[in-house]
């Protein structure tokens, strides 16, 4: 694979992910296979029950979108259409066809309706996720939903899932989250030793690989990357903020990093850095820990109050010292599309230039996308040059 979208260092990890997907499809070992859509579904329970499991977020192909469009109106986002299209028995995705059970703590209305359509293709359990993340009642309710989820999973595997098994998984997943956070920390260097595309591949691994397999492979890579020598280049630093960036939707980051030569150093979306910003409590009732932990994670824009999401986004941009933010959302996204002005205004007010892009999985707009991103980077480069010039003048006169 000479043309892969990530650095050569990640090839072994990529190979592990591919092998895991093949095993999933081939039903190796005869274990039941579970899938889930949103980052609010705790994989801890699935792993505690010994299931094979994966987050289902493959999308990006226009064919799968049109497959899904047979079941929806046009005003669903391309991701929710892709989820339906991939489960569709005719022309869907074999990985999705291999799923024995779908669990989804739905976030947005589109995904809820998508799951209801998908029920005809695969046994599905739809669970509720409260919106008001700071209310005590939300936490109690969410905990009881997680207990339903556990019971459902126990029924699927035909055995009980114990509290201590769940606690052990919380500790294990925390370890993985911390490691991914460490990887991301490396991107705070002026010349990050891993690209945004690399980090997306690591996140992809998180959603496909068993955590034990992941830890072995990732720790080795982390040691290697941490030792990378700084060659002195200082690429323009970008944050991507907004809706889901599916496994298969790489064209924006590819354009930024491969064609233009800037760097994505952090993501404020649920398929980038965001799910790893927070770890869970490891003592006491594991179900309360899951309920609190998942509600306390860096929030999706569907959660309330929205200020929490805005604070997280601006804080992250500052923490990673980004030159600019690209706020990208899927067309018809009821969360990120509708709250775009709040995000744009807040980021702009915090002094970070931001480019808004509404996107989908068609390919016809690549030229326009390129012009926008290039022009935005010209703006950022200009500002950086001005800063350098001002600094050197101050230096001379000071």
């Amino acid at each position: 694979m000479t043309n892969s979208l990530f650095s050569a260092d990640l090839l072994p990890i990529h190979a592990l992910i591919e092998a895991e997907q093949q095993a999933f499809i081939a039903d190796e070992g005869g274990r039941k296979r579970a899938g889930y859509f949103c980052a609010y579904t705790p994989p801890e329970i699935l792993n505690a029950a010994g299931l094979r499991h994966a987050r289902l977020f493959k999308a990006g192909s226009p064919e799968i979108v049109s497959q899904g469009e047979r079941y929806t109106q046009s005003v669903f986002c391309d991701f929710s259409k892709s989820c339906i299209g991939a489960f569709d028995k005719e022309g869907g995705d074999p990985f999705y066809h291999a799923v024995d059970k779908l669990y989804t703590f739905h976030t947005c209305a589109s995904m809820k309706r998508a799951a209801e359509v998908i029920e005809q293709f695969v046994p599905t359990t739809l669970l509720n996720l409260p919106r008001l993340r700071n209310e005590a009642a939300s936490r109690d309710f969410f905990r009881s939903e997680i207990l339903h989820y556990r019971d459902d999973v126990a029924e699927l595997v035909g055995r009980a899932v114990t509290d201590s098994e769940v606690s052990a998984q919380i500790a294990l997943y925390n370890k993985v989250r911390r490691l991914l956070r460490d990887f991301s920390e490396l991107r705070k260097r002026p010349n990050p030793p891993l690209t945004g595309l690399d980090f997306l591949e690591l996140v992809r691994g998180f959603y496909y690989l068993p955590p034990a397999t992941l830890l072995t492979a990732y720790e080795k890579l982390y040691q290697k990357l941490a030792r990378t020598h700084d060659d002195g280049s200082r690429p323009i630093r970008l944050m991507i903020s907004g809706s889901i960036m599916a496994d298969g939707d790489r064209r924006l980051v590819e354009l930024i990093e491969r064609e233009i030569g800037a760097r994505v150093v952090v993501e404020d979306h649920c398929t980038g850095y965001r799910p790893f910003a927070h770890t869970l409590r490891e003592d006491g009732d594991p179900f309360a820990a899951l309920a609190d932990g998942y509600l306390d994670q860096a929030p999706c824009a569907r959660m309330k109050p929205l200020d929490d999401s805005l604070d997280f986004s601006t804080g992250l941009a500052e923490e990673y010292g980004v030159d600019g933010v690209i706020y990208v959302y899927l067309k018809f996204c009821a969360c990120y599309g509708v709250s775009k002005l709040e995000f744009l205004d807040r980021l702009t007010a915090s002094g970070v230039p931001v480019l808004e892009i509404s996107s989908d999985y068609s390919v016809s707009d690549i030229g326009q996308l390129k012009t926008r991103v290039e022009a935005f980077l010209e703006v950022l480069q200009g500002q950086r040059d001005d800063r350098i010039e001002t600094n050197s003048k101050e230096h001379v006169h000071g």
Partner: protein, 315 residues
């Protein structure tokens, strides 16, 4: 044309030290501007199937007009959607986006420019410019959709049986602009067809004018929505091919409630002029680097920002 005839006799800051060229290879038309220390030459041809051939043709025309030879050209900058497909073996070449180029072009002609509306064949853009530098502060570009672009007007002209360059004039005759509400060119087209079907024979002229005005207002509403984040601070400047359409100018001025500042040249050339201005800066930076190189060990940074090609593609 002498630059002093356009700008006046004050020294013109963007003037290059040697002849440079800017190309703006658009979706419909391609524009070329050649700048010498004291003159400006412009040329326009429809964009052909092969961008390089189009650019070669533009260059040949410009050289002929300026009475220069190819080797006299010190630098070329390309912009527009065909910018990436250009390559030169014998002339230094850089790529800059049309957003940056329209800002530089408009600013070079009028340093008080703060807001630009650019409407071309397939794109429309609103650009906020820093009057101190001519740099882009913020920009918004239309969605991948023909509403609010030249293509939409082209379609409308065909439907009304008018030449494109008459469409704007006809629209100014409207007594009661038709209401066309569709955001989509395809639906707007069917709205136009039903409006036309309603028009009585003897009122044909008036109906045409009203429909034409409706089309311009529908497009202008679309473009106006781009100004949300960019604002409308004066001087407000209209660039791109559609800047020559008086109907669109009128509709935009009516909706925005502000006037465009008259431009000293045909603003279809704003992008190509901006590209030429960038070519001039690149040329100056290259010359300075060369001089510094022969006098002293190379410095990591030359004085100007334009020297840094980090974001440009060397074809």
């Amino acid at each position: 044309m002498k630059i002093s005839d356009i700008i006046g006799s004050d020294p013109w800051k963007p003037a290059p030290a040697a002849p440079v060229v800017g190309f703006d290879i658009g979706s419909r038309g391609s524009k070329g501007v050649l700048l010498t220390p004291d003159s400006i030459y412009t040329t326009f041809i429809p964009t052909g199937l092969y961008m390089q051939e189009t650019a070669d043709e533009l260059l040949a025309r410009l050289l002929k007009e300026a009475k220069l030879r190819r080797r006299d050209i010190a630098y070329v900058v390309g912009t527009g959607y065909g910018r990436i497909s250009l390559a030169y073996k014998d002339i230094p070449y850089q790529v800059v986006t049309e957003i940056t180029c329209h800002a530089s072009g408009a600013h070079a002609l009028n340093p008080r420019t703060r807001t630009i509306i650019d409407i071309g064949g397939q794109d429309s853009k609103a650009i906020k410019v820093d009057p101190a530098t001519g740099r882009v502060l913020e920009f918004v570009m239309n969605d991948k959709c023909a509403a609010g672009t030249g293509r939409f007007l082209e379609k409308a002209a065909v439907l009304l049986g008018l030449e494109l360059d008459k469409l704007g004039d006809v629209s100014l005759q409207a007594t009661e602009p038709a209401v066309i509400s569709s955001q989509c060119v395809v639906f707007a087209e069917s709205e136009m067809i039903s409006l036309r079907a309603r028009g009585e024979r003897h009122k044909d002229g008036a109906a045409h004018a009203n429909i034409a005005a409706g089309i311009h207002f529908a497009s202008a509403r679309r473009v106006k929505s781009l100004l949300g984040r960019v604002g409308t601070e004066p001087d407000l400047v209209f660039t791109g091919g559609v800047a020559n359409n008086p109907g669109m100018r009128h509709a935009l001025e009516t909706l925005i409630g502000a006037r465009f500042v008259p431009a000293p040249i045909d603003m279809i050339y704003a992008g190509a002029l901006g590209a030429a201005v960038h070519a001039g800066r690149h040329q100056a930076a290259a010359a300075a680097a060369k001089q510094a190189g022969s006098a002293a060990p190379p410095r990591r940074r030359a004085a100007t920002a334009a020297e840094k090609p980090a974001l440009a593609h060397t074809a």
